[in-house]
Symmetry: C2
Subunit: 414 residues, 2 copies
């Protein structure tokens, strides 16, 4: 029989838009022995996690819990639970993950109305508000921060327009949660999906979500107790039942409620990890955490500009946690990334679709977002670009970043 | 702000049908720093995991990989990918998890044909073969081991009947994989779903699956590349596309293939855990592992019978990894379970539906399946039953189990 080596992954400096480095406190949490899923000690940990998620999402919503799957499982759980076949879903698209919202909505049987924007920019909220009044969708599904393009979409007035027209506003905040403000209640977002492996710095494998009474009302209209658990005679509702059992929010909220109605077996070690990650976020405090993300982004940008590189995308809508860099003409972007990984142990990202081969993306997210990492990536990128014969200003990037940090850097450097 | 305690879960002896105790080697694997999802070191770990899953499932199938979710996510991924709306799905039900197969199949738009058996027994394979020839289903979906009743279903001839009638045979082996033989190729199973948190003793949160070319052919007929990744003009196939993006096996196999086509972000730490759990299983060797499960089951049964308790279910189809005990008349089953947990730190399970309040279930699964645990649970159960005033033979249970172990126990004791 083939023998497999002891696990011993190399230590990486992970400066992608996720997954990013995990705080050792979170790694340690996963190494604790497990509890049974209905052990009162475990259900107490589940309840604490729900409480902390309320603070993270800045909401008073009762329902805040993780879906046991990666980030897109949270998106699919919300969409499949709120979209009834034939519902109109409005999706403003300004990058890859808007396309994912379309893809999932179509698979849920929605009639999708798309608004499209060239990649690298976002929508004036007024355009979206007009479309809401014109098209009267049942659901508006939008991305808050697009890691594919490094842009962030403002929400001014969109929540209010959805209330006026009785639409539900579903927001993919996978990239922003824990790194940039996501004000669920103040912005009148009806459902929000976060990601663990980005600004929360918990490994991929859970997707925290929250939703309010407006969403719950629709979920409850479609709810069916699982066959084998329900009373005789309480049959499924033909045509109404959610197309997924795993993602049925009506069943999931019973599992997360004091009823503890059996559904899946909660992912124990991932729940430990999420709880510890949330403790770290709340101990730092949200405002300070957001300021830290802006500070290291600014230092990174100062260094990149000093080196002579150009950023991609409209600076007015730049996502603070992802910085996109135009690959200089004639440079093989993948060769640069490979050398960064193989010689320096640093990972940065490429992009998708129309941006493939056009930009690199550097994340400054969560635990990875710190001065040491920013300085390492600037120094390494400069060396690798010089090695590739790119005409950049040697020695300037780190001086600019150091100067920024020395000034305790409040102003944006370039 | 409320402050939350450091994580410090109590150490439990978990003798339920899952989730069970996790080998410290697996816990340690989860505490390693993560790698990026397309880091060559990580994709190599993914490939090794696929190889080891082939040995676990006893198959030469190319496709063996985990779904990132709990066990039922694996079941849903297979069913939603192979069931086209209107397909006939035959489900023989002999416990709760047969009902789950019906529930998921119905949500996928199947016309479900049920065969029902009173709980506590299984089907003569001939009955199922007859139904296959009579009803000509496109899919037969069955549970291998029912944890709800402690029964195991034999498959003799069922795989062959499915080949003859061109049906796909989908098997839920969540409870048995790694504890009881599951011979995917020899039994002609077309798709098999395993669970991590039972006999593999990896935390809940992943569902290893395997499927053969017959399943792949159907998956490929329905395949669509994700919007935003596909070429212009390659539109979705109306009416054919799988209703889920997260669970679309066509997309998932591209992610797990050398193409590495972007889909979700693989759950890094859970993948580390699964890989380590599989290493442990294969190092023990499957046959020896199955024999260990039978040995400790026999010792447990010897003790329970010596105490004067009755087992539930037909002994001819007893699942070796779950032992169901009739709760003696007049005893509050939940009070016994609570005392076991609170005084002894031992968790055993109750059951569902018609068996609620009727039986206790004791698991002997994976890392939890050992002599120390069997002796602890017997000693503790005796004390708790005496405390509750139950008329049992004091002192006999442990003597019977010790005698069984002393005989190196090959024969079944009662």
């Amino acid at each position: 029989m083939k023998s497999y080596r002891d696990l011993s992954p190399s230590l990486r400096t992970i400066m992608t838009p996720g997954p990013v480095e995990v705080d050792p406190r979170v790694l340690r949490a996963m190494s604790y022995p497990i509890l049974g899923q209905f052990d009162p000690e475990f259900t107490e940990l589940m309840n604490e996690t729900m409480e902390m998620l309320r603070d993270l999402f800045q909401t008073k919503n009762q329902w805040c819990f993780p879906i046991d799957g990666t980030s897109r499982s949270g998106i699919e759980a919300v969409l499949v639970s709120v979209i009834e076949p034939g519902d109109k879903v409005l999706v403003p698209i300004y990058g890859r993950f808007g396309n994912l919202l379309v893809e999932i909505s179509e698979r849920c049987g929605a009639e999708v109305i798309m608004l499209e924007r060239d990649w690298g920019a976002v929508f004036d909220p007024e355009e979206i508000i007009e479309a809401i009044h014109r098209d009267k969708p049942q659901i508006v599904a939008m991305v808050h921060g697009e890691t594919s393009t490094g842009c962030i979409q403002p929400f001014d007035g969109i929540g209010a327009a959805c209330r006026e027209t009785d639409a539900l506003l579903v927001v993919d905040a996978v990239a922003t949660i824990g790194g940039v403000a996501v004000e669920t209640d103040a912005w009148q977002l009806d459902a929000v999906i976060g990601g663990t492996q980005k600004c929360l710095s918990v490994p991929s494998g859970m997707a925290p979500i929250t939703y309010n009474e407006r969403v719950e009302a629709k979920v409850l209209r479609r709810k069916t107790i699982e066959r084998g658990l329900r009373e005789k005679g309480a049959e499924a509702k033909p045509g109404k039942t959610v197309a997924s059992n795993y993602f049925d929010l009506g069943q999931l909220q019973d599992y997360w409620s004091p009823k503890r109605l059996n559904h899946h077996t909660e992912a124990t070690s991932m729940l430990y990890a999420l709880r510890e990650g949330l403790r770290i976020v709340l101990q730092e405090r949200l405002e300070e955490r957001f300021a830290r993300h802006r500070r290291h982004e600014a230092a990174l940008v100062a260094g990149l500009c000093a080196m002579g590189l150009s950023l991609y995308g409209d600076p007015d809508c730049k996502l603070p946690v992802v910085t996109c860099i135009r690959i200089p003409n004639g440079v093989d972007g993948e060769s640069v990334r490979a050398m960064l990984l193989n010689s320096f142990g640093i990972e940065i990202a490429s992009s998708f679709g129309p941006l493939k081969g056009q930009i690199w993306r550097i994340g400054t997210m969560g635990f990875s977002c710190n001065q040491k990492n920013v300085l390492h990536v600037l120094g390494a990128l400069e060396a690798v670009l010089l090695w590739h014969g790119v005409d950049i200003s040697a020695g300037k990037a780190l001086q600019a970043a150091l100067a920024f940090y020395a000034r305790k850097g409040e102003e944006l450097p370039c």
